[in-house]
Amino acid sequence: MAQRIDVKDVNIYYGDFRAVEGVTMTVDPKSVTAFIGPSGCGKSTFLRTLNRMHEVIPGAYVEGKVELEGVDLYGDDVDPVAVRRNIGMVFQRPNPFPTMSIKDNVLAGVKLNNRKISRSDADYLVESSLRGANLWNEVKDRLDRPGSGLSGGQQQRLCIARAIAVKPQVVLMDEPCSALDPISTLAIEDLIQELKKDYTIVIVTHNMQQAARVSDRTAFFNIAGTGKPGKLIEMNDTATIFSSPAEKATEDYVSGRFG
């Protein structure tokens, strides 16, 4: 259910612009890896290359290798659609499909993957996914209501339920709490701790306390200046990054001296 990701010498481009340069890292299975760094350092861009969502943007492309259990996701015979089915994603702003009910939102990915699912299987999957996202008790009486009627935090957990309903290997989260209030944020952070038992989790966050609270390993990205490519400065156990980082820039950032 959880697999490791090996990134080898990845460069990421928007057209001619090189946004991220020379990233090599390993993401461990069944753990939470956090990406931190100042705005524009390419951490979200890099996250999106892990499930080939980056190339959705016109003109964007990636050089280098991203391997999931040894299989290069950017290999010639790899279908990006298949990659995204294996590596789920949760976005910065909650984005349930507004015209679908809560139940249909959870089942959206499953219906894409295999058209036919029996009613009892569907019901079971909806309940287990919503339970997995800590949302079941709040919505079990209104599964047929539109997903857009939920609060922001509930919507985000619905999106997580939707992502895990397709049983991915990895769940990517792009600042999942930045649009949420503190209580919803806490709920999501608790959920991340639950999810890492089954999934490999990668989370981008602006919030250093959040990275410290939820992650096992932390990667710090930085840019030399506007228009320059972002780089991976340092990656280590979260405790090490926040207590005794090897690089001066990391220490300045985590101690709040810039960013």
């Binding site: 659609v81 984005n95 499909f97 990915g109 894409l112």
Partner: protein, 330 residues
């Protein structure tokens, strides 16, 4: 006496008078009058047209059927005014609805191709081309439909009649010249394609990136992304686009007049000649030789068209307005 005790600002008024804001205020007052006047003019025009139609249609609507039969050419004997207008309304609606049925799927396909499939440069060129279709005069469409399209379609209509003659629309005796409602519907469909495509394209382009990416991140192919994110979002927009197209098809005169071999029946046989007629084409055809009460009768049919078109446009507006309330997740 009420005095508004605003804090004294002795310098400010002087400075304001000198600034460009004041001259703008002078002009903006003029502009407001121009704008208001233009708005009022539209209302006045609409009211005048409605009034004209009602006043001039009234004699025909209240006249006895004998008087009408005497004055109006091609007036069926012993029929009320309603029975006289009825087939025309039927023909108008039939032509417009058939055109819509053909045009909407094509327009949606073109709009989706432009908004979500075509490379950017091709999309732009294609968009211009579709808009150009709207610039072709309807007389030209009529000529084209009459001289080019009808002979091309004739074998197709024969084939449809042979194999699907059991279906009411394709029943009857096929017209060898294909100057029938079916051909008219195809030409009208081409004519309303630009408006439906343009509006649908704009709606599809407005689909929130967030929803498209949500679908893609779940492992949707391009078509699945369109189906889960773009189409539900664009649904009501496409409906209102289709209504706008319907409005245009209802009033189209020249192309129908030039192509259709008219009849005055409640007939669904769109492959047979001399079955239906639309209001607009009927008016254009008979107006030159009409006088007296016949003119009133024609204007009354025009009133019927006016009411139908107004209703369709209002329905379109209502759907667009409902779409605004439905703002999606965020």
């Amino acid at each position: 006496m009420t005095t508004t005790d605003s804090p004294p600002a002795p310098v400010a008024p002087v400075r304001r008078r000198r600034s460009s804001g004041d001259t703008e205020r002078g002009f903006s007052r003029t502009f407001r009058w121009i704008a208001t006047g233009a708005g009022a003019l539209i209302l006045a025009t609409l009211a005048a047209v409605a009034l004209f139609l009602i006043v001039r249609a009234w004699p025909a609507m209240t006249a006895s059927s004998e008087a009408l039969a005497e004055a109006v050419p091609r007036y069926p004997d012993d029929t009320s005014f309603i029975a006289y207008v009825g087939p025309l309304i039927f023909g108008t609606l039939l032509a417009a609805v058939l055109a819509l049925l053909i045009a909407t799927p094509v327009a949606m396909g073109v709009a989706l191709f432009i908004s979500h499939y075509a490379p950017r440069r091709l999309a732009q060129a294609l968009g211009y081309l579709v808009d150009l279709l709207a610039a072709i005069p309807s007389v030209v469409y009529g000529l084209w439909g009459f001289t080019v399209l009808a002979p091309v379609l004739a074998p197709l209509w024969t084939w449809l009649n042979n194999w699907f003659g059991w279906f009411p629309l394709f029943a009857g005796d096929v017209s060898p010249t294909a100057r029938t409602m079916a051909t008219v519907a195809v030409v009208l469909a081409v004519m309303i394609l630009p408006i439906i495509t343009a509006v649908s394209r704009e709606v599809f382009l407005q689909t929130p990136k967030l929803h498209e990416e949500a679908a893609l991140a779940l492992g949707a192919t391009r078509w699945e992304m369109v189906r889960t994110a773009v189409l539900p979002f664009g649904q009501s927009g496409v409906i209102s686009a289709a209504m706008l197209g319907l409005g245009r098809a209802l009033g189209e005169t020249m192309a129908v007049l030039m192509i259709l071999s008219p009849g005055f029946l409640y007939s669904f046989k769109i492959l047979q000649a001399a079955q239906q007629q639309t209001i607009a084409a009927y008016i254009a055809l008979d107006f030159p030789e009409a006088s007296g009460l016949a003119v009133n009768a024609l204007i009354a049919t025009g009133l019927a068209l006016f009411v139908i078109t107004l209703a369709v446009n209002m329905a379109a507006r209502a759907i667009v307005a409902r779409r605004k309330e439905f703002s999606g997740a965020n």
